[in-house]
């Protein structure tokens, strides 16, 4: 996973609430079995509209996306995070994020920054109205700053911060606890009422 430390970049504003993962990447692209190449399909339906922000040359190359509240709601598809990251976004700023998207973004090295609604609105306005608008997002300092005096700090779960800073892979981290896992599993296996398959009986279900 790509590490995230400090990023200075152009900013794309997306002043919409409840941007769901069906919009970020529509279903027809979920049939692919690859993990890459989703950037071309990011916001596929919305970008057919010539005035959609992704088509605006002012925001070309932006690595920071600012959006209104509840970004990433809906389907659990990690393709949404893959599409954002493949397109080039490394950071999304909003006043709230849906849980599963939050987790998926982290696994793909995308930093999600939560700021109060009025600050997000200010950034949305500035990004839309200020030519060459840029933000500097520092995960090391936990701050977001622009060149016009805006400065905000954000909080982030310390472990999530550490993983992003170091670009750490989750499975490797979990395997540090392999002994605890073996021990737990041995004991837990005896709790047959929590096992998916009790001794399967031959034949069909009694309920049908």
């Amino acid at each position: 996973m790509q590490a995230f430390r400090t990023l200075t970049s152009k900013v794309m504003p997306l002043d919409r609430v409840n941007v769901d993962t069906d919009q970020i990447i529509p279903k027809q692209f979920l049939k692919r079995i690859e993990r890459t190449g989703y950037g071309d399909f990011l916001f596929f339906d919305w970008r057919k509209d010539a005035s959609f922000e992704l088509n605006d040359p002012r925001y070309k190359g932006a690595q920071v996306l600012v959006a209104a509240k509840n970004f990433g709601c809906g389907s659990s598809r990690e393709h949404a995070a893959w599409a954002l990251s493949d397109y080039g976004f490394r950071c999304v700023i909003s006043s709230s994020f849906a849980d599963i998207f939050f987790s998926n973004a982290g696994k793909n090295g995308i930093l999600l920054v939560t700021l109060p609604e009025d600050e997000v609105q200010l950034l949305l306005n500035r990004a839309a109205s200020t030519p060459h608008y840029r933000l500097t997002v520092s995960l090391e300092d936990q701050t977001v700053k622009d060149d016009e005096g805006f400065s905000a700090s954000f909080t982030i779960d310390p472990f999530r911060r550490y993983c992003l800073l170091e670009g750490l892979d989750d499975i490797g981290l979990t395997l540090r606890h392999a002994d605890a896992l073996d021990k737990f599993e041995q004991k837990h296996n005896a709790d047959f009422w929590l096992a998916p398959k009790a001794e399967a009986q031959a034949g069909e279900t009694a309920h049908a």
């Binding site: 002043d15 472990f159 395997l175 279900t205």
Partner: protein
């Protein structure tokens, strides 16, 4: 004496593998459900890293999202979809995972077959690369959707790093009025708290109205938890739960069954257990609902009118509201019952179980689908389909002019050929009314199975509380649905 605990806390604590300082806890996963869409990259990741699937016996797969629902579905015309399904077959064979494939008499939507086979049990932790995994919480399991990286993580380690969610108790008290179903309970809750109203929480549904629901109804309610942003939804297991599970394929038998039930009985929240948030909803306040906008929180009673954006709080909410009206091609103030529809979809992991089909058939019996509407019924699984056919429900639907299909996700998300055309308006028993969810430019209104059937017949949204129930004709009179 230890402090009183909630159902969620009991399940959480019994699955803690490790609690490293300053890191999320490691939670053991009892059951991992897999389907074709969110698994290929995870299996590939295992291969690339040379890792094994840790517990094939705790992993079960089916095909549901992509499969066509027509009779001739063994040959899939869409080459990319066909490749994804073949990839799952190969992965399951390579890693030793049990697969309920298209031809299996037990194939179906992953959240329908898990409970139906008795894989889902009280007190378990269950994950699946699908947000509606919350469905399984109806049994008192902690069940939640995960992304593909997490799918790979569970495959490799059988556990997941998780931060503990906060708890939210929602009690629906009293008797549900006639015509108000589990779907209306779910929509009524989301309408009250909003589509992000439960973000960060695990909801526990309680109260007499919830307890009076069948397992099918409870699954519908828990299924929609994610539409309020919740991580999961749970209901304490009780006699209804045990009666549903008993005798299922993978349920414990004999003395094991008794032991299991005595364990499961201890799961219910203790008296005096503390929640981070609580809400009580009198059942009498609920009505049959119809969504009017582009997220499930945009919902109103069938007897109401499309609301006015001017009444919303913030600027961004108002813009979202206006955008939704524009997309849905609706005007504020239009009575819901005047909105005409083109399509009806009865199906999805929310409402495709036998009880849902019985309720819809009861409304459809003896009537005929409106001339300008095309309507389809897609059972959630092969077993549901077989049961419905034994009861004669397929005849009732066909006679009334509904299409009767093979099981799968179908038009819930339109990954297979079942999609809306641009501009078409659909009354759907599914769970998401996002823009383009059922096909680009399609307009989705979420409703209960009874409301969907009624809309199919009148061609517009119709209050089922005023429905004239008829008998089906001829040989179908005896259909169990009407007994």
């Amino acid at each position: 004496m230890s402090a009183p605990k909630t159902l969620f806390e009991k399940v959480w604590e019994s699955h803690l593998v490790a609690e490293p300082a300053n890191e999320p806890a490691l939670l053991y996963i009892d059951l991992h459900l897999v389907h074709e869409v969110t698994s290929p990259q995870a299996f590939e990741g295992l291969r690339l890293a040379g890792r094994k699937l840790r517990r094939p016996d705790r992993t079960v797969a089916t095909v549901d999202h992509n499969v066509p629902t027509t009779k001739d579905r063994l040959i899939i015309a869409d080459a990319i979809a066909a490749k994804q399904i073949d990839t799952l077959r190969k992965n399951c064979a390579d890693f030793g995972v049990e697969l309920y494939d298209v031809q299996s008499p037990q194939q179906g939507i992953v959240h329908v077959i898990g409970p139906e086979l008795g894989l889902t049990k009280p007190g378990m932790t269950i994950v699946c690369g699908d947000s509606h995994t919350s469905t399984h919480g109806a049994f008192g399991a902690l069940a939640f959707g995960i992304g593909t990286s997490e799918v790979e993580h569970v495959m490799a380690t059988q556990c997941l790093p998780q931060s503990k969610a906060r708890t939210f108790r929602i009690a629906v008290e009293g008797e549900l009025p006639d015509g108000v179903t589990a779907k209306d309970v779910a929509l009524g809750i989301i309408g009250r708290i909003g589509s992000d109203g439960a973000t960060g929480y695990v909801i526990e549904y309680a109260g007499s109205a919830i307890r009076s629901l069948s397992m099918e109804g409870r699954m519908t309610v828990c299924n929609m938890s994610i539409e309020a942003g919740a991580r999961a939804g749970m209901i304490a297991p009780d006699e209804t739960t045990f009666a549903y599970l008993k005798g299922r394929k993978f349920a414990p038998q004999g003395a094991d069954w008794d032991k299991a039930v005595s364990e499961w009985k201890q799961l219910a929240s203790d008296a005096g257990a503390k929640y981070d948030r609580e809400l009580i909803i009198p059942a009498i306040e609920l009505a049959p609902y119809v969504t009017w906008g582009t997220n499930p929180g945009m919902v109103i009673a069938v007897t109401d009118a499309v609301p006015d954006p001017a009444a919303t709080q913030s600027d961004s909410d108002r813009r979202g509201f206006e955008r939704a009206l524009e997309y849905m091609d609706l005007k504020a103030g239009t009575p819901i019952e005047e909105i005409t529809i083109d399509r009806v979809f009865i199906g999805s992991c929310t409402n495709s179980r036998i009880e849902d089909l019985r309720a819809a058939a009861k409304v459809a019996a003896g009537h005929h689908v409106h001339a300008s509407v095309s309507a389809m019924v897609v059972p959630g699984s092969q077993q549901v389909k077989a049961q419905a056919e034994r009861e004669g429900l397929d005849h009732i639907f066909r006679e009334a002019g509904f299409e009767w299909r093979e099981p799968g996700c179908s038009m819930c998300l339109g990954m297979n050929p079942d999609i809306l055309q641009p501009g078409e308006r659909c009354a759907s028993t599914s769970n998401r009314n996002f823009e383009g969810r059922q096909g680009q430019g399609g307009r989705t209104h979420l409703v209960s199975p009874m409301m969907a059937a009624a809309a199919a017949i009148t061609g517009r949204f119709t209050d089922v509380r005023t429905w004239e129930f008829k008998k089906p004709s001829g040989e179908f009179k005896k259909a169990e649905v009407l007994v």
